[in-house]
Symmetry: C2
Subunit: 439 residues, 2 copies
């Protein structure tokens, strides 16, 4: 028979069993932590009507989207979890209690040019809190606090959630008479990390057509750094010149205070005035998260406050705040950096029962059908990485015991079956506390 | 602004929060039980090359498939989890340890005509054991044993796994000289439940063109029923007439014995000679699972033994046995029948902390930002179905305690915060043992 090559499309992640178990463990931690903070799980279709999915329309998104006809229907695959959330909240408005706190972990699709570390199908893991008409600023601090807890439970230590406020930025540009150019300026300032202050200044003058002293103002502002208290103190010097700026500063002060109250250490969050995120969506606090030893990776978790989740679907004012972990990319990066722990149990089971005789008590009768020799059996246990092997030979049957072999240490001990279960359970519980990321 | 109606496509399930939590709970039970039996999780792309997905080609499947072009690529959405498994095992053959035991819970897509209870996007939850060249028959008993354990953990009681063997059927048709018509006969016999023996007999004579005595033979055979021991005894009377039949009977005897050894009660599994499943794929034991009080629903979990998982991709002989739960359909049916328990905790959290003052100790400082009045706060706790409310007012702050209100009983008690945590934890642990299905 002619064979078809069993290939997987490029840009689509498909893992070997042990790696898949690490990803599953990460997803389990996300589900548990998000639930602990009172977020309820949501699942929306992967396929939506193109009209619904592209209600906002335009831009880069439309080029990347998987869109196709099925019968008379114009369909598309979701490219993020925010648009489906907007559709869901607008469509189920009457059934929901607000603030509506939901998490969603699901695959999204973007037909980007395939390249190493870029995926066309990838998991996002989102949390959002949606208010009905209004939403307390407390939520803008709680969201990064949940991310801090999530990363900590995953075992990630060297990360920093960078926080800024769009009102602060918009106010700053307004007080300098640069509101119209704010978009262009932010896109240029975004290159600070890559090309440095001097080149950014030149671009601001040459391409954005700013006066040298105005571009100097921008760079001075963006250069504000130090502890969070120091940054806030420097920002106080701009107070009183623009109402929006002042409001943004007040919000930043409150969010910073609450983040401390939520127990997030200062080393894991920092005010960073260079963070802006998208231009037309976020309206208050914005977040990016960097791995401090790998800034080249970019943000692994981003989001912010928005005033109008579902304006394309409903007249209801639905402000919210949310954040998204690019899970597939984060997993890929951690794996590439060797930061995934092999301590995590990745065997499909804790112990493999290896009967060494043909005829045993009914309890293990089923297992007698195995016909391989001892060495092959132990080899299988070892190959699939099972931590324990339970050996049942003639001797064990006669003595009414089993032999428990620790596959890591090679140690082997006879004991009654019931004791063996407790012994394996205790050892596995200790191991199950291992974190999936060793960073 | 012109609004787009936030509709969800017909045939795509999208649940309210509380229902979603029940589905998540079911998925959690499936993951845990499958893992307990040593199945390793697998995740494959939703999108595959159409050439790979349709390697087997033809039939009903091809009409229902979601297939589309993206750039130069001819793509399709997976319509089951078996073809991706075949692709995976063939493609990763060198990296896997055999027998390879995997589970996969994922969405699949079939553009069927939309009708009530029929879904175009639905979850399947599959387990398979794949051997390299050979596979012990023990696995053909373990697979339904895992399903028994899974359904029992879900809380489902009134179900029966119906077991048959394709060799037995093929052998029976051979000994009657009806091998060529076996396909047609099986399709006709499949209608027994619906139209009864007399009409099936008439169809066998009129449409399959069988002689009346031969059709009588078929109906006599299919009518064999009773306890598993009785059925096996009746089948012994056919022994010696066809080698394939005898082999099938031996396998059925072994599978029945092992199922007992695995602790599956006879009320939950039955030999049923009318079960055949697909014509060209299964080669040994086959399964269907009915809800005994709702036979009209059809099989909620089906599968069987096959000899050649991946023949379209590789020359390797990869025999296996697997079973699939149609999770979305099962959930829909349970929900329609009122069999989903509301005992299961479906609140997004166990307790809601309700600060009743503006200024509190740092530990709850964050929560002080809530500005609503008491009634509205308690109403929110009630609306989202939280089991406990923790009230922190002036009195509580002064006394160094919190008030814990059981939202089910209305009972309210003051205690130190630490004690409250233990008290809520104990109550929730008791509740968490509630099963998701109350049948």
């Amino acid at each position: 028979m002619a064979k078809v090559t069993p290939r997987t499309l490029s840009g689509f992640m498909e893992l070997p069993p042990k790696e898949q178990m690490k990803l599953e463990k990460m997803m389990g931690v996300l589900r548990d932590t998000y639930s602990l903070y009172g977020f309820t799980p949501l699942d929306t279709p992967v396929i939506e009507s193109a009209e619904v999915l592209l209600a906002k329309g335009g831009g880069e998104t439309e080029k990347q989207i998987y869109r196709f006809q099925k019968g008379e229907s114009d369909l598309a695959l979701r490219f993020d979890l925010t648009v489906p959330l907007a559709k869901y909240v607008a469509g189920h408005y009457g059934e929901l209690s607000f603030p509506f706190r939901r998490y969603q972990i699901g695959k999204v699709y973007r037909g980007e040019r395939a390249q190493r570390g870029r995926f066309r199908e990838f998991y996002q893991a989102d949390i959002d809190v949606i208010g009905d008409g209004k939403l307390d600023i407390l939520n803008e601090a709680e969201i990064p606090a949940v991310i801090y807890e999530t990363f900590t439970r995953l075992g990630l230590k060297k990360f920093r959630i960078r926080v800024n406020n769009r009102k602060l930025l918009n106010g700053f540009y307004a007080m300098n008479g640069m509101s119209e150019k704010a978009g262009e300026i932010m896109r240029t300032v975004d290159k600070l990390d890559k090309i440095g202050a001097q080149k950014v200044k030149q671009l601001l003058i040459d391409e954005v057509k700013m006066l040298p002293d105005k571009s100097e103002n921008v760079l001075d502002f963006m250069a504000i750094c130090g502890t969070n208290a120091e940054v806030l103190e420097r920002l106080e010097m701009y107070r009183g010149m623009d109402a929006t700026f002042d409001q943004g500063l007040d919000e930043l002060i409150v969010v910073t205070k609450y983040l401390q109250d939520f127990g997030v250490p200062e080393e894991n969050f920092a005010i960073d005035l260079t963070i802006a995120r998208g231009l037309d969506y976020y309206t208050g606090t914005v977040y990016e998260t960097e791995m401090t030893e790998h800034p080249e990776i970019g943000s692994v978790c981003s989001g912010g406050r928005y005033d109008n989740l579902a304006e394309y679907y409903t007249d209801k004012q639905l402000p919210g705040v949310g954040i998204s972990i690019g899970l597939t990319r984060l997993f890929y990066v951690l794996s590439e950096q060797g930061l995934l722990s092999d301590e995590v149990v990745t065997a499909p089971c804790d112990a493999l029962v290896l009967p060494m005789t043909e005829d045993l008590a009914p309890a293990v009768a089923a297992a007698t059908a195995l016909k391989k020799k001892f060495k092959a059996k132990i080899g299988y246990a070892d190959k699939i990485g099972v931590p324990f092997a339970v050996l049942i030979g003639e001797d064990e049957v006669n003595e009414g015991v089993v032999s428990v072999k620790n596959m890591q240490t090679g140690e082997q001990q006879k004991m009654p079956a019931r004791e063996a279960a407790a012994c394996i359970k205790a050892a596995m519980e200790a191991r199950s506390r291992a974190k999936v990321i060793r960073a």
